[in-house]
Symmetry: C2
Subunit: 267 residues, 2 copies
Amino acid sequence: MIADALFAAPDEIVPAQAPREASRLTRKLEAFLPFDEEERDALDHIVELNVRHFPAGSILVEPGSSPREVMIMMEGWAVRSKPIDAGRQIVALHLPGDICDFNALLTRRADCAIEAASDVRVACINHRMMSDITRRFPRIGQAFWCDSLSAASVQREWTVNVATRNARARMSHLLCELHARLFLTGEADAGGYDMPLRQTDLGNACGLTPETSSRVLARLKADRLVRLKDRRVEIMQAGALLLSAGYNAQYLHLNQTDDMFRTLFKN
Amino acid sequence: MIADALFAAPDEIVPAQAPREASRLTRKLEAFLPFDEEERDALDHIVELNVRHFPAGSILVEPGSSPREVMIMMEGWAVRSKPIDAGRQIVALHLPGDICDFNALLTRRADCAIEAASDVRVACINHRMMSDITRRFPRIGQAFWCDSLSAASVQREWTVNVATRNARARMSHLLCELHARLFLTGEADAGGYDMPLRQTDLGNACGLTPETSSRVLARLKADRLVRLKDRRVEIMQAGALLLSAGYNAQYLHLNQTDDMFRTLFKN
DNA sequence: CGACCCGTTGATATGGCTCAAACCGGGTGG
DNA sequence: CCACCCGGTTTGAGCCATATCAACGGGTCG
């Protein structure tokens, strides 16, 4: 299936043999580097200290505000967007396990809005706790760092997506990416995943209007690549979807996508 | 002028009172948090240990290769791009002072190519030295981290750029961004900056074809917003250029761009 | 001198935006 | 229970910005 597409170094990924029911955060971070018991406990502990619930539609971070805490998605999706005259542009999707506001540490004022796309559970960690844990457990800090690099890599891919691909390919690409990322935390299975966003938002994330988004998804459905039914995406033909996303180019130039395609074209 | 646009927390920026001729790296990092003498020395030292020169056009990082060193731009520009069928998409520009391959620490295989756009001087730091210095000087590590967050913020802005703006606004935006970033390291003055890229590359960075790039730049020149002459960009009307870039929207919604505009509309 | 790359200019094609209208399901209030 | 509304989706028609294709000029380098 589509998983493992974005996160290279496949031989270091050990989501399967996680020894116990791990939080999504540890599960994701351990895809970068494995923790020992102590580190895992510390992380789980700090994350449980201050969990907040928000209903769908809540504003988690106001653009221009000065958030004083790092937020970690424990459950549900959030949307990061920038205001654009009389509208917004979605620049990132924060899924369970994502650390979604590192920037709070750097900038006085948030440059993006973050909004709950579904009911969410968020772990809030203030700056002091953050520096504490990274000082006491350098490897956790390192994992955080890996995570932000990974997020940057995703962001570059989004740039490529809107800059080079047509509407159909963009949407396909987004659907593939979501699958890969959700799979990492066990949020998705081979067949698909729950997806709380409106079509409008999916389109916006690819730089498309709601109308085009609707048309493109209709075509993908008609072509039997995906099925979309009450907040769930079923991936019916992973290989065809990847081709539609324009991954074929990378495939021909064979680089880090090898492993993914090896998995994919088995069926 | 355009500087300070991208890097919030203006009251923590102290490029002016840097006590001596600092390297571009320290100069940039100290825009995030100031160092003491010891830290500054350590950083300058490690950076000078292994400097390499590359002529314009050299491939610094091959996509799919496994770079074993972090690279820091000391002089000259580099272009980060992703291969796209029979072409490439530029996803980032690495200017003097930029740390341009943190990813080497995370991923086995580079997902991007990095190419020297001009003759460049690059400091190469292997993983061991990197972890050494961040362990011995946590504040340096923190500054590195800030830098990568800042780069991520720039990346988001690029996504917005290609997703929402028309050709003219995209190009204007890019020219503004470059000014702001170069100004931070003293590479640009109020009037403009040296710019080694071809028009083709400028366009590519905004998701435009060379033809459109040419036409758009011609219009910007005709409208007396900028002047482009032998590898130099002269910014003639910063205010108008910002408007052309579509910054007006943010201005109306007043957030972190306040300071920039206050400076800008003085003249 | 020719080859090549980059930039320019023109003509044409087209993908996605815009505008507009209708539809649909769910929630709300009478 | 129905009527209504509202946000999201769907569908249609036309238009516009930018890609595409093509040809040429001008500088540079071998």
